[in-house]
Structure formats: C-alpha cells, structure tokens
Amino acid sequence: MENKGYLYVVGTGLNTLNHITQEAKRHIAQSEHVFHLVPDPLGLSLLKSLNSNLHYLGDCYALTTDRIAAYQLMVKRVMTQLTTAHKVCVVFYGHPGIFVSPSHALIQQAKEQGYVAQMLPGISAEDCLFSDLGIDPASAGCQSYEASYFLLNQVTCNVQAPLILWQLGVLGDFAGERLTCDPKALELLQQKLGKVYPPQHPVTLYEAATLSLYEPRIETLPLAKLTEFNFSQRSTLFIPACSDVVRDESIYLELKKHQLKELNNV
C-alpha cells in the first residue's frame, strides 16, 4: 500500500545560518509546503531561499485568544494541508521537540491518521548553554525543568546536579496567556530555591547568541538577588550543583569484589 503522505518536523537551531542541519535543509527544500515559526530573521531568509511555498504560523497567535488555542490552530492547519499534499515540512527554532507543544501533537496525530511522520533533531538552547557555560552533564548529571512547572509542582530538586530552568520570560503562566515574567512568581521561585540552595549560591541568566555578531548574554548573581534579573523571552536560568555526591560504598565494594573475583578466575 502506498503511503498517504509524509510529515517532517525539523528545527533550525538558535542561530539558523550556523546551526541548521543538512537533513533539515533537504526536507525544507523538498517539501511541497513548509510551515514555519522561526523567530530569527536570517533564518527566515534562508527558508525563503530554500522553498517558495512558505506558510507562517505566527498569525495563529493573533487569530486566537490564548496560546493553547493558537497551538491547536497550528496543528489543524498543518493536518489539513497534509490531506492534500504528499510531503509537508514544519519548522520550529532550536530543537523542534524541546519545549514545543504542537510539534509532538503533530507527529502523534499524523501517525494516528496513517501518515509517515518524523521529527528531526536540532540544536537546542540547552546545547548552546552546555557549550557557552562549559557544562558537561557527565560530571554530575543535569536536571531540566520548565520554570513554571518547577515552581507550581512539588518537584524534588537534586542539589547535587546542576538545574536548568526554561521559560523564565513567562514565569507564573497558568493559562497560556502571559507574555512576561510575573514578579510575584519570581519572588516565590527565589523562596523555593532558597529552601535548598544557600543565598550566596550563584545563579546564571543565559541567552545564546541568535546572531553571530553578538556574544551570548551571561549574567551571574547570588540567589538572594534572583529578582534583580531582567528576564526576556530568550532567558534560561542555570544553577550549578551545590553539594558533591557521596559514593555509595556498599555498591562500590560489592562491584569491586565481583570484578576482582572475575579477574582471578581468568
């Protein structure tokens, strides 16, 4: 049986001209329709040079009352196009599946309806953070949370691993309506973090450069001054670990004994 059609969801990275993958470019160029929501202007120019059949999804915000409805409209638009086209590509910035709700909804719906649907990886804000701040999650692990989710839920925060909080620019958002950081929510976040980190513990506001001309924005303050940060829609917060891990001696000794025994048996 012939496939009904193909849906590819791809990412541009944060600095599109430098980050977009060859694979993503090929899918953009070879699709009949390309839907996009890419905030960087050079990225948009690149899309235009690859495919003339572009559809901007950003107007869905203006056509709806809140972001949840906007995302539903985006999904509906793409799914409608898929019924008549052989190959459709949807482009988001960063990694298309990281902190992007409609991308996952699209893949799921397309698969349920019998289309071939694939999400391709892209360079995310977290990837840029690892590079710019020199963090290797292999050293102590890493936790990554949406900031409002972290604030509003009883999350067990592991102070032995770094903590990354996303979407500070809409902190305190319940209903998908806020487009700014609620100062009260920021105060509460500071208090919540203050229960597990000391007041002098450094916290870093991080914004990757989206144009090569600029350097990343990296500002560090003690936790006690968290509310002094001026967060933008691009801000991510990085909090390093504040205590070292302690080796699990019983497991260590058991494994060591086992391996010595194996060695003696050879």
């Binding site: 600095n15 890419v38 905030p39 050079l42 950003g58 988001f92 979407q167 001309l213």
Partner: protein
C-alpha cells in the same frame, strides 16, 4: 527590507574575521556596508526586535515564537 543590513549580518556569520573587525571598529565596518544611522544604532544596541523588523516587512515575527504548554492542554 534592508538588504545592506542583511548582507552585513550574513557576511559576519560566514566570515569570523569580520566579527573581529566589528569589535575593533564598529562604525567603520557598518559604514562599509552602508548601514543607515538608524540601523547602526540598532546593531550597536543589540536591538534584536528592531533588527527582526528591519529585515522582515512581511509579518511581525513572534519574538520567541512558541512556548511550551502543558501537554494535556493541547
């Protein structure tokens, strides 16, 4: 749509030496690309929203476009 601004930003992306040149002499490099005074101020102030607007007259790009919402809501 500002072609000079776009050419300037693309060239700096593709040629890292130009970025060093910009750091040493911002105005000199931007003058070479015939950027207007307004464009030069925007670039020097790292006014990303302004640059977005100058490069795209078709539609307003959503500043950070999409925001993650709870999966259950979608």
């Amino acid at each position: 749509m500002s072609d000079n601004l776009k050419r300037f930003l693309v060239d700096v992306t593709e040629n890292p030496d130009l970025k060093d040149q910009y750091k040493k002499d911002k105005t000199g490099l931007m003058d070479q690309y015939n950027l207007t005074k307004e464009e030069q101020t925007m670039v020097a102030n790292q006014d990303l929203d302004g640059i977005n607007k100058a490069l795209n007259d078709e539609y307003d790009l959503a500043p950070n476009s999409i925001i993650r919402v709870n999966k259950k809501q979608l």
